[in-house]
Symmetry: C2
């Protein structure tokens, strides 16, 4: 399994380089190199000898609990990978590649029709994938399960009913309140100074720079080559300092999770993150619950002001904090505030579910998209480029993972509530920039376990109950009630 | 073969990252990842099906010349790799790894005895390797052949007789002449400005930054992930501007070769460099014949002076040029001038040859080393750290490749002489910073052929004769005769 992991992580290195440093002309051969390694990986993970060993180990009663879990989860992966023929894997890879090319061109030209036939093919193939993977109630469950084990359309449906019921009217109320000023974010901020400030924030969080680094990329991301080499990337915009701050803290949260996974389990499931939802809980907890709190800016506003005395001379910590939390329905998911963000996800969820049950077709996507954005966010979509074509993910064949963004935020609120209850000084510590206890708590409660617990089990173990949207809603009401004087 | 190349180049990506960006703690797992990919590579290149195909193709008369050469050279590699058992490959890898650790510690503590037993093991194994690989006259030939196909101890012996006979007394004469002033190199030079200047030089050479990039590393190197993604690295020292300039132009020369290899032959021998000697001929030609010429500094001195007006205000282009060519026997090979450099190589050659024929033992190395340095360079070696322990290469098991450094310089002189004869305006062009014709010439004469010709064949094809040391010696006499007024 370590050898298989070696190949898997090598793919991660090649992909990281592709997004950070690779020169333009290197793209074509790089895609081929990644595809070859993926083939090698698939061959290793579906090796018959491995299957035989796993079969034997499954019956071995001398294993301890951790070993049993490693065997069980590896067998799960093995059995799943075995379901796919090489032909299917290659066809999927080829279709994704074509769909991605078409999406790029369609977005550039604001012409959905370029994308449509390729996306239709891909969705067809993804539907076949659902049948191969298997599901109980809804084909979409097979997709969801890939990112959030055990998640079902039915449970998410229920969750989003709450979101709709509670968050939609709350955002309506905010819209009618006195608005927050954030124009100072959009002055000119020297990129190198922003970079230094970002590193300060990561260091403060406890990110280990001897076991990781930060680089620039056009889309911020986190990747791990092993728990002792975790890379985060960020994006720096000269005319919007908030962009760097969010991506930096957000990816830092992901990075801390990866650095906290047990290196001694390298190659085995217990060295891996539980699910995308739990991963996102770590990034969102740092980004929103910590990074968008007043306590955080009491500590860090003087620092950012030190870097940018002219730009921020008439600004106070509290103004900065409020600006960081400005709520405003918008077109683009990635730049949405922490409340309306979930409407974007909700729309994706509804569309994906409908696509997989066949109640809508790929051809219906633009009209459906625009109607939903009007309904939930009250915005008119001016072009498909700023609408249904905005994100890369569908062209990559990633259906069913958008919901993990919302799930992650809700887990984050629930975990953070517990962390505060267990450590009443937490807010005071954050005000001083002391993150050690919080990180220690996350390490012990979440990181160190790898995939020993499912997301749901972990949540119960930590908080005593299953995922409960009320924590997020209470957090939102308290914070935004104060900011918007509701 | 493309798939095999994909794995090989993936190893190159991992190694590049290891030397440039990898955080400290990532080292252990990275070594494991590279080792696993090496295993995958070895398995692919020794696959029986490949062997069968190569056998069939060898008899296929419908192939054209290039295809035949690709089959012939691939079969050569296949047959060679087949000679090694997995056990031998793994034992070698383990021994190298231990020897490298021991060397690091020995160098740090200036204690050869830490290194000795490990190096003894490695040399023993390398001798076995010679027997496995096979040779005609001398076991050392098997090692030489790995880096410079067809090179033999006998031929090199002859070559170095000339070097000794001509270069030793010439350097003696220089030692007695009026010395050159280079103290201005060692002022304080801002690293970022040096970096910009280095990029200017690379661009001027014609290095394609859409198909490559330059990064920092502690030891400058060039690596290729395919002809459209070639990476060079350099080292920048604040107190020695010459270091950056040399490594930049030198690696740039290697990089241009790699960028000039035919991408359409990717994965096949015709997309690969001929030998280390020819590779070095490209880096040395740019570094020495171009970069250490007066014409070059007529163009580039005003540029470096623009970057560093204070440091260079009393310096003239000609002073800079002379300083660039200061000859001074020294202890450390990597910082040697272009003449005494070959004494370092000669010493290595003599030692390696003696080691492989068994006339000296590993235990004799320090004393033997120090005596040779006294004899050829007239310097007293103050410590093994600055003597026999200075270089990493033996600990990596790299015996037989030092000579390629000298061979490369001599090829460079011979090629450059021809280039000047074929284009009498070459010097004038260099004075203007116009490198296009030179690069075009190198592309057509050397790069584009990949491994179609052997080094020796190529040399004859380009210059009408075999490698001839006289070209280097004439070049040296003319240039240094003028500089030192001999």
């Amino acid at each position: 399994m370590q050898k298989t992991a070696d190949v898997g992580y090598s793919i991660a290195v090649l992909s990281w380089d592709q997004e950070t440093y690779m020169p333009e002309k290197g793209a074509e051969f790089r895609a081929q190199q990644i595809s070859t390694l993926s083939g090698v990986f698939h061959k290793m993970i579906t090796d018959d000898t491995l299957g035989k060993w796993l079969e034997e180990l499954s019956k071995d009663n001398s294993l301890n609990e951790k070993q049993k879990k490693n065997v069980e989860l590896t067998k799960e992966t093995y059995d799943k990978q075995k379901k796919f023929t090489t032909e299917f894997v290659e066809l999927m890879s080829k279709t994704v590649s074509e769909c991605f090319q078409a999406w790029q061109s369609a977005k550039e030209k604001n012409d959905f029709s370029i994308y449509q036939p390729k996306l239709e093919k891909l969705v067809e193939l993804k539907k076949q994938e659902c049948e191969i993977l298997g599901y109980k109630d809804h084909p979409y469950d097979a997709q969801l399960n890939e990112y959030e084990k055990g998640a079902t359309a039915k449970d998410l449906e229920k969750l989003f009913v709450d979101v709709r019921k509670e968050l939609v009217p709350f955002v309506q109320k905010i819209k009618q309140a006195k608005q927050v000023e954030d124009s100072f974010f959009y002055k000119t901020y020297d990129k190198d100074k922003q970079w230094s400030f970002g590193l300060d924030l990561l260091k403060q969080m406890g990110y280990d720079f001897d076991a990781g680094r930060q680089d620039r990329s056009s889309h911020p991301f986190t990747t791990s080559f092993n728990p002792l080499d975790v890379r985060v990337t960020t994006r720096v915009s000269e005319n919007d300092i908030s962009e760097m701050i969010w991506s930096c803290i957000h990816e830092g949260g992901h990075g801390l999770y990866e650095q906290g996974l047990p290196a001694e389990e390298y190659g085995l499931p217990l060295s891996e993150a539980i699910s995308l939802g739990i991963h996102e809980s770590q990034s969102r907890l740092w980004e929103n619950n910590v990074g968008r709190s007043l306590a955080y800016w009491k500590k860090n506003f003087p620092i950012v002001q030190f870097y940018f005395p002219d730009q921020l001379k008439d600004v106070k910590a509290e103004d900065f904090y409020k600006a960081m939390n400005k709520v405003e329905p918008s077109l683009i998911r990635t730049s949405a505030d922490e409340l309306t963000y979930h409407f974007h996800v909700m729309i994706r969820f509804e569309i994906e579910k409908a696509l997989f049950e066949g109640t809508i077709k790929v051809a219906d996507l633009p009209a459906y998209w625009n109607a939903k954005y009007k309904e939930y966010l009250g915005v008119d979509v001016p072009s498909d480029t700023k609408g249904v074509l905005q994100d890369i993910h569908w062209s990559h064949g990633s259906f069913g993972y958008f919901p993990t963004y919302s799930i992650g935020s809700f887990y984050a609120a629930q975990f953070f509530d517990k962390a505060k209850k267990e450590n009443p000084s937490l807010t005071t510590e954050i005000e001083k920039g002391e993150m050690k206890n919080l990180l220690k708590w996350l390490r012990e409660k979440v990181h160190i376990h790898g995939r020993f617990y499912t997301a749901s089990e972990l949540c119960e173990k930590i908080t005593g109950e299953k995922l409960n949207f009320a924590y997020f809603m209470n957090y939102a009401k308290e914070k935004y009630g104060e900011i918007y004087e509701l």
